[in-house]
Symmetry: C2
């Protein structure tokens, strides 16, 4: 099953089953699909013919050609509907409706799967928040519409998915695909990763899991994926009460955390602690899929933040090595006398755009990545420094991370950095954490 | 010396020595003082009489009564100026100018101190970013003006101070006092803490240090302060290269980190990892100076985020205990059948304002603090939930922390929470980290 779930993300026609009253799930999905600009057929299925949001509704769907069905009707009606869809050869079904294994209704969920198998239907859900594909404006979900991007996010928890989408919107961070897969009675994280491995719009895969459906299947899919694109995982349910919480809300027991941790390490999955670290790492990996070694240089006009970043880099097992004798010699010729010729390279008040560029270009050959920490005074122009950093990036073939600190004085500078494809973080410590993970990923999954 | 540095923060008159050309330090400080609305006398000292920014400048300051002198002239001219100020009985001097011990000019710095001792002048600096007191609009600094608040922030690194002020502005977080003390040739962190202990506008003291001037003096001041108000410290220069970085930029060697760590623990100082954690903790402590125990309850409508928060709480040594049998009984009578009667209390789709209030008020007696994690769907009103949480707070005498997730859908809700004095964090994990530190602080410094 190389490509087991194709029609979920590229349907020509989507039928939505659910209440078409304003504010109800069915209606809100139709609205999201319309407002999102889906170009294919959108078929709201309603008991009475009529119109919603300018769209024709259908009470009879027997003559419709349906590539993807989104179901948000009460659970007890779903088996009959599934049978009907199966007879029409609909093969991709997303069940939003809740009330299955997550509240103890195991038999009811089993029944869905039995019908699906009979008709070769693939199901995402039940008890999920839907799916999105930003490249064709498919927003089959009631959640905030994702911006386009290159990270696919798949999540067991629908609520967490909603929170991630809203945070992403605020950050201006986009996704290629979004999948909330809920109780995963059929399609699971392994199937989704298998699909995303060959999805050309996805460069990074991020996943939230509480417990895996089938550990072996998951790991076998991981094996063939991590060398092609990085996989980031948030694994929740580590501790006693955490596990209890997991088991109460998805109806499954979390496995032993140490086993997961070991498997993740062995198979090259990047584990992160929380959503904020996930975003930080996704942004880093989208720009820089690899960092070839541990030697990091810091260039700054701000001593304190550079010290803290140096601490963090060393704590994480990275190196902040001194420049070589010949490099020191070259720098001496370039720089004002008081500038520090050590790593971190503290330019002090001499931290003009030109000095940043000169130092950056000069030291780059001796390091694997650069962190540039810039704290402007009220009279400094952060855009100029951003452009200088951008010029360094064009000339050297090494990853550059920045921390322009902070607030309104650097807002425009950070926007400028984006144009050059340079990820900015609120602190140098955050840069350090991202770099450590990318270095690990590179050495583990794609050594030279 | 109970109150050794009174005139720094409550001067009636301030003289500024420095270039009065637009964009230069002297001019920018005068502008900050004026725009900030300082009500006392502002005396720009300039070689030629005239006006800047509508203010009279003075070439001769011999007849002026000066409570506080701010110096930003080239270092070589400062000794003569200090002598003149000493003869006029000026006792409080802030030296912004750099070029002293931080670049190896130890003798020049020693000379400043010798003159200061001779005339009983107290010096903050040199090589610092100035001081602020928001209660009387004293902004003797070129940095962004702090908003008023109840945290005093003192920092060895001026650049870090600038970054902190800009981040704070963006967060809407205010300070009572801000002090960048630079090379601390005279006034050090111990003197400042001694002063801030009895400052009625300061409820929390936060400090950034790379190395202490005098460990014993510092710890003796801490001892008498921590039971009155919490002290939060960022201690940088932990590791080898971090230390090298420290020594290069302040001219002092960082002490062994483990000794600091042990002393901080023993003396009840709250150590944080970075600026972001510092802000999180300051906000928590301003609202809740104490949390009496480790039993934490989570109420949520979002399973995934609650699981992650539970994990973090347990990882940090806190407890997420089940409700008692009698509490379960009471809850059963109140709630719809599918709602989880475990901790975390997952209200699922039943998470209406009323349900949050009912559950919060009912369970509060069995727990030491509550975390409320709320993830709205697009149609939910976060303000209503915020008001419900506010009502819980009015009725129970326990700290409540919230994580309303995320972005524009909860923006108004978070503003509403502020009105009730409830601190909101971007994730439940952040709530957990803050709670853990406040619990530790309470048990260590102010047990019942």
């Amino acid at each position: 099953m190389k490509d087991s779930i194709p029609n979920f993300f590229n349907p020509k026609t989507v039928a939505i089953f659910g209440s078409m009253k304003e504010g109800k799930t069915g209606y809100e999905i139709v609205r999201n699909m319309l407002e999102g600009g889906f170009k294919g057929g959108i078929y709201p299925i309603s008991q009475t013919n009529g119109k919603i949001l300018g769209l024709k509704t259908f009470s009879d769907f027997k003559n419709l050609s349906i590539d993807l069905a989104i179901i948000a009707i009460p659970g007890s009606f779903i088996p009959v509907l599934l049978e009907d869809l199966g007879k029409q050869n609909v093969s991709s079904v997303v069940i939003i409706s809740a009330g299955f294994s997550e509240v103890g209704n195991l038999k009811e969920e089993e029944e869905l799967l039995t019908i699906a198998r009979k008709y070769q239907i693939r199901i995402i859900g039940p008890n999920c928040a839907g799916i999105m594909n930003t490249s064709n404006n498919l927003f089959a979900s009631i959640e905030v519409r994702a911006l386009p991007g290159n990270t696919a996010f798949i999540t067991q928890s629908g609520a967490l998915g909603g929170a991630v989408l809203m945070m992403a919107e605020e950050l201006g961070f986009g996704f290629s695909k979004f999948v909330s897969y809920g109780n995963r009675c059929d399609v699971d994280e392994a199937d989704l990763i298998d699909y995303l491995r060959d999805d050309s719009e996805t460069r990074v895969i991020a996943i939230y899991i509480e417990a895996l459906a089938e550990g072996k299947k998951f790991l076998s899919k991981i094996k063939t994926t991590v060398s092609k694109k990085p996989i980031i995982a948030i694994k929740a349910g580590k501790f006693k009460a955490g596990k209890r919480a997991t088991s109460s809300h998805t109806g499954s027991l979390a496995g032993e955390d140490r086993i997961y941790e070991a498997a993740f390490r062995q198979f090259g999955i990047l584990r992160v602690e929380d959503i904020e670290e996930m975003f930080d790492l996704c942004r880093g990996l989208e720009y820089y899929p690899r960092i070839n070694g541990k030697r990091i240089a810091i260039i700054t006009n701000a001593g304190g933040p550079a010290v803290m970043t140096t601490d963090k880099l060393e704590e994480l097992g990275l190196e902040v090595p001194e420049p070589s004798g010949s490099l020191i010699k070259t720098l001496k010729g370039l720089l004002p006398p008081n500038v520090s010729l050590k790593n971190p390279f503290d330019l002090l008040a001499y931290g003009s755009a030109d000095t940043f560029t000169q130092v950056g270009e000069t030291i780059a050959p001796e390091y694997d990545a650069l962190i540039i920490i810039f704290v402007p005074t009220a009279s400094m122009d952060s855009v100029k420094i951003a452009q200088a950093v951008g010029e360094i990036k064009k000339k050297i073939n090494k990853p550059i991370f920045t921390s322009f600190m902070a607030g309104r004085l650097v807002k425009k500078g950070i926007e400028e950095l984006k144009k050059y494809g340079i990820p900015n973080y609120s602190t140098g410590e955050r840069c350090a954490r991202v770099i450590q993970k990318i270095v690990w990923h590179t050495l583990k999954n794609n050594p030279k």
